[in-house]
C-alpha cells in the first residue's frame, strides 16, 4: 500500500468516527424541524450503506489483493443476516400474531410442533453473534478448501461462487428448509431489549455499523501490510512462482477467503435490524455481482476505494430508483462500462496522483497460462 493510499484511509477512518458520533447527536438531540436534524429514515439509509461498504471491503480483500473474484459474497452476507434475523425472531416471543412463546409465527402457521434444531440457542444473543461469524466462515472454509485445492481459478471460480449463492437462494425459498421460505424473517420487535422502531436504536445501529466498518478496514489493512499480505498479492500476480517457492497457495487463499466471508457475515448481521427483513432475495446472484461492481467503481485493490464505491453507488441507486425507477439497471451497467473505460483505478484513482514508478496493473493473472507448459 502506498503511503498516499494510507493517508486517504486515515481520513476515511476519521470521517467515519466523526459520523459515528455526530449522526446520532443530530438525529436525537435536535428538534425535528431543525435544519440540522437527521430524520430516522435517513439514519437507517446511511447505516445500510455502511453495511454494504463492509461487504465491499471484504470482497476487495480477496478480489483486489488475491485475485479471487468471488461472485458469491452476497451469500455470506445473507447468512450473517439470517443468523441475526433468527435471534430477532426469537425475541418476538408472545408478541407474535399467534403469541407462541417459542415458535416464530411462520412455524405455527406451517403447523410445526417443535422448534427445529437449527433454531436452538438463537434466543441467546452471544450464541447468535457466534453463528453470525461461524456459519459464513465454515461455508467459506468448506467451499474454499475444495475449490482452491482443485486449483479452480479465474472465471471458473467466479462461476462456481455464483452457483453456490444460487443454490442457497433456491434452498432458502423452500418452506421446509425452516427459515421462513419466500417471506423470510421479519416483523422484528427489539434487539437486546431496545425497540428497533425507536430513533435511538436506529442511531445506535448506525454507529455500530460505522465502528464495524472502521474495524473491518483496520483488520484488512493489517493483513495486507503483513508478510502474509505481500504473499497474497504475490499469489495474485504469479501463482505458480509462489508454488515453486514452496508456499501452500491454497492455504494462503483459504485464510483470506474465510476472513472475508466472516466480515461479510458481520455486515449482513448489522444490515438486517436496520432494514427490518431478511429473505431469500438477498442470496440472488445479481446481488453478489452488484457488490463486485461497487468494488470496481470505487477502485479495486485499495480497500478505501471499495468502501467509497459501495457508498456512492448505493447513494446513486437510491436517487436513481426514486427519479427513474425503470432505468436503474441501465444506469448501473452504464456506470460500470464508463468506469472500466475511463477510470481503470476507479473513483479513488481520481484522488491518487499518478506515480512514475508504478508497475502496470496485472491483467487477471488467474486466467494466464501457467508457466512451463512446453510440449
Amino acid at each position: 500500500m502506498s503511503p498516499q493510499l494510507d493517508r486517504i484511509g486515515l481520513v476515511f477512518v476519521v470521517l467515519l468516527a466523526l459520523a459515528a458520533v455526530v449522526v446520532p447527536v443530530l438525529a436525537l438531540a435536535t428538534p425535528a424541524d431543525s435544519p440540522f436534524n437527521i430524520p430516522p429514515y435517513l439514519v437507517q439509509l446511511l447505516g445500510k450503506y455502511l453495511c454494504y461498504a463492509i461487504l465491499a471491503v471484504a470482497l476487495d480483500l480477496v478480489w483486489g489483493y488475491c485475485g479471487i473474484l468471488s461472485l458469491g459474497h452476497g451469500a455470506f452476507f445473507a447468512l450473517g443476516g439470517y443468523a441475526m434475523g433468527m435471534y430477532l425472531m426469537r425475541q418476538i416471543g408472545t408478541r407474535g400474531v399467534y403469541a407462541n412463546p417459542i415458535l416464530p409465527d411462520f412455524m405455527v402457521f406451517l403447523n410445526w410442533k417443535a422448534l427445529p434444531v437449527a433454531w436452538w440457542g438463537f434466543d441467546s444473543f452471544p450464541y447468535a453473534m457466534l453463528m453470525v461469524a461461524l456459519v459464513p466462515g465454515l461455508l467459506a472454509l468448506a467451499f474454499g478448501w475444495f475449490a482452491f485445492r482443485s486449483r479452480v481459478t479465474g472465471v471458473y471460480l467466479s462461476i462456481i461462487t455464483q452457483a453456490m449463492t444460487f443454490a442457497l437462494f433456491k434452498e432458502f425459498f423452500r418452506n421446509d428448509f425452516g427459515f421462513g421460505g419466500n417471506n423470510g424473517l421479519t416483523d422484528f420487535k427489539d434487539l437486546l431489549g431496545f425497540p428497533l422502531q425507536s430513533s435511538a436504536a436506529k442511531a445506535a445501529l448506525f454507529s455500530a455499523s460505522a465502528i464495524a466498518l472502521i474495524l473491518a478496514y483496520g483488520a484488512a489493512r493489517l493483513i495486507i501490510g503483513s508478510k502474509y499480505g505481500k504473499a497474497l498479492t504475490a499469489v495474485r500476480d504469479a501463482e505458480s512462482r509462489m508454488r515453486f517457492l514452496g508456499y501452500r497457495v491454497e492455504n494462503l487463499k483459504l485464510f483470506a477467503f474465510v476472513v472475508s466471508a466472516v466480515m461479510a457475515g458481520i455486515a449482513g448481521a448489522l444490515y438486517v435490524p436496520q432494514v427490518g427483513i431478511i429473505n431469500p432475495s438477498e442470496f440472488a446472484p445479481a446481488n453478489s455481482i452488484e457488490a463486485a461492481i461497487w468494488v470496481a467503481v470505487g477502485g479495486r485493490g485499495t480497500l478505501v476505494g471499495a468502501a467509497i464505491g459501495a457508498i456512492s453507488v448505493n447513494f446513486a441507486k437510491t436517487w436513481f430508483t426514486g427519479a427513474f425507477p425503470e432505468f436503474w439497471l441501465y444506469g448501473l451497467g452504464a456506470l460500470f462500462v464508463l468506469v472500466t473505460l475511463f477510470l481503470p483505478k476507479g473513483l479513488l484513482g481520481l484522488l491518487l496522483r499518478p506515480r512514475r514508478e508504478r508497475a502496470p496493473t496485472p491483467e487477471t493473472p488467474a486466467l494466464a497460462i501457467e508457466e512451463g507448459a512446453d510440449p
Binding site: I223, S226, K227, Y228, K230, A231, T233, A234, D237, A238, S240, R241, M242, R243, F244, L245, G246, Y247, R248, V249, N251, L252, F255, E357, R358, A359, P360, P362, E371, G372, A373, D374, P375
Partner: protein, 256 residues
C-alpha cells in the same frame, strides 16, 4: 532407507537421480525413458531442440507433472513423484522459469523477502517479525545479483535482464540444494549474457545447478558437462566439444 538405496551406489551418491522417466500428454510422448544423474555440487547444461522434453523434465523434477513411469529421487532419499510443488521446494529445489516471473507489484526487496527461507504458513507470515538474518541474506543476494541499487524499485519496472537476475536471486534466497534454470539468457544482450554466465558460475560454487539453454555461446561460457536431449531421451553427454563432434547430435541439432 529403501531397498533400492542400499543396492544402488549411483543413487546413494547422487543429488538428483532420474531413471527411465516417461511422460505422455494425450498420446504425445514428451519424455521416453529419460535417465539423468546429477552429482552433489555439479553444474550441468541441458541442450536440445524444441520439443526435446527439457521443460517437461523440469516439470517432473519440481512436481508439476507426474511421470507415467520411471523413478525420480532427490538426495538419494526423497521420491519426487510422490510430492507436490510446495513440498519439493521445501526439500531444496528451486526453479527459474523460461519467462522471467517475478512479483511485478512488489519491490525488489519484497520479492527477495518472500523467497527467503522462512516458515511459509499463513500464521507464521501473518504474525512474523522482521529479523536481522533475513535482512543480511537479502543484502548478500542483492550484492551477488548486482541489484543493490534497485532495492526499493518496483519489480515490474526492471529491465528484462534485471528481472532474470532478480528471479535467480529469489532462487538463491530459497537456499536450495539444486537450482533448475530454464533459458536464463533468452532475450538478453551479449553483455547481459556474459554477466549471467558469471553469476551462474558464482552460484555453482556452492549449489548444484541444471541450466537448460539454446544459446551455444552461453553454454560454452559456462564450461560444464553438457547433456543433449532429443525426443524425450538423452542422446549424448560429455563436454561441449565432445557432444558437438558426435554425428548423431550434429544430425538432430547442431547441424541444422
Amino acid at each position: 532407507m529403501t531397498l533400492a538405496e542400499s543396492h544402488n551406489p549411483t543413487l546413494t551418491h547422487s543429488l538428483l537421480y532420474l531413471d527411465g522417466i516417461s511422460v505422455s500428454f494425450d498420446g504425445y510422448k514428451a519424455l521416453r525413458g529419460l535417465s539423468l544423474v546429477l552429482a552433489p555440487g555439479e553444474m550441468r547444461a541441458i541442450i536440445g531442440p524444441n520439443g526435446a522434453g527439457k521443460t517437461t523434465m523440469m516439470d517432473v523434477i519440481t512436481g508439476k507433472t507426474k511421470p507415467d513411469e520411471g523413478e525420480a529421487m532427490f538426495d538419494g532419499r526423497f521420491d519426487l513423484t510422490k510430492l507436490d510443488e510446495a513440498e519439493i521446494a521445501g526439500l531444496g529445489i528451486g526453479r527459474k522459469f523460461q519467462k522471467p516471473t517475478v512479483f511485478e507489484n512488489h519491490t525488489v526487496e519484497d520479492n527477495l523477502l518472500l523467497a527467503t527461507k522462512a516458515p511459509r504458513g499463513v500464521f507464521a507470515t501473518l504474525f512474523g517479525r522482521d529479523d536481522k538474518g533475513v535482512r543480511r541474506t537479502i543484502d548478500r543476494i542483492l550484492a551477488t545479483t548486482r541489484l543493490g541499487g534497485l532495492r526499493a524499485r518496483v519489480a515490474g519496472s526492471l529491465s528484462h535482464g534485471q528481472k532474470q537476475w532478480l528471479e535467480i536471486g529469489m532462487l538463491l534466497a530459497q537456499d536450495p540444494k539444486l537450482l533448475l534454470v530454464d533459458e536464463p539468457v533468452a532475450g538478453m544482450t551479449d553483455a547481459e549474457t556474459a554477466a549471467t554466465a558469471e553469476l551462474l558460475r558464482e552460484i555453482a560454487r556452492d549449489h548444484s545447478v541444471v541450466v537448460v539453454e539454446h544459446d551455444m555461446t552461453f553454454v560454452r561460457e559456462l564450461g560444464v558437462k553438457v547433456t543433449v536431449l532429443h525426443e524425450g531421451a538423452v542422446l549424448a553427454d560429455g563436454s561441449l566439444d565432445q557432444v558437438s563432434a558426435d554425428p548423431r547430435v550434429i544430425e538432430v541439432y547442431l547441424g541444422r
